[in-house]
Symmetry: C2
Subunit: 167 residues, 2 copies
């Protein structure tokens, strides 16, 4: 089968992020950040039984990311090292500006999900929610010394997201 | 800020999945499945330094999923229980048919990534790759008794993906 590389795919928001924390404070506060995901009414049936999980994967569309014109950049943990690729970082500077966070699910009230550790700006469109399950946990991993988590110590469960890279 | 819920977003494939395993065998064989992700030439610079990570998150677009007309379904582990929502399952039957797998990165050769445990069909468009890092690991989790991993025993690192639900 040949893949037509010119196809594109359309995502429709299922909801959006609600937080009072200003955009610029989110990276610093993300460890303890409690936000809401407000689901559009027509998608609320899709939340049925979700409360049985303690953790979710939230996929959001970083709609305010500037167009990705550069696939190489420097991690901001160490400005002296050679540039690395967008796919080797969690930067918003990527061809498809999808964001992903593993969050603690604190509460569901009708169409409002209260979650901890969602490092997305207020108003960011959410495009999918998935339960976080045992097959998502891999504890024997390697990360490079320039990753943000390596710099801060490799504590499992440390919700330190890699911040945007400095170009 | 008000979010315009009528906006849509466009994803462009960065590559696609290559496997010789027939679609219908992928759920059963996913634990040990070795596939390739073939990255389009223009995105290859984005792979720079990715080999420093042992595990990746692959986000793919399940382009052959039928249109999502039903947000409630029964997990196929236990057909007697009440239906649950699409966002509480990893089924391909979801409003935005994004798939997500945490995979072992085995090898990178130019634009070819060899990975283990990518439960996506041959030809599936890939829309993002992200490094899997310590902040993605949460070991103190709860999953419901009807999740596939619960049924099979909650081994951490067990790459059992939840198969599609039976409607």
């Amino acid at each position: 089968m040949q893949t037509d590389t010119h196809r594109t795919f359309t995502l429709t928001p299922i909801g959006h992020v609600v937080t009072e924390v200003p955009d610029e404070e989110i990276p610093r506060r993300r460890r303890e950040l409690v936000s809401e995901v407000l689901i559009l009414p027509e998608y609320v049936p899709g939340l049925t039984a979700l409360e049985a999980y303690s953790h979710l994967i939230v996929i959001f569309y970083m709609d305010r990311a500037p167009p990705c014109t550069e696939l190489l950049m420097r991690p901001n943990t160490e400005t002296g090292r050679p540039a690395v690729g967008a796919f080797a970082m969690r930067t918003r500077n990527r061809p498809n500006p999808l964001g992903l966070a593993v969050v603690d699910l604190l509460e569901i009230n009708d169409n409002r999900l209260k979650v901890r550790r969602l490092d997305a700006w207020h108003g960011t469109p959410v495009v999918d929610l998935k339960p976080y399950d045992f097959y998502d946990i891999h504890t024997e991993i390697c990360v490079p010394e320039w990753s943000n988590s390596a710099r801060r110590g490799r504590a499992i469960g440390d919700p330190t997201s890699a911040p945007d890279a400095v170009k």
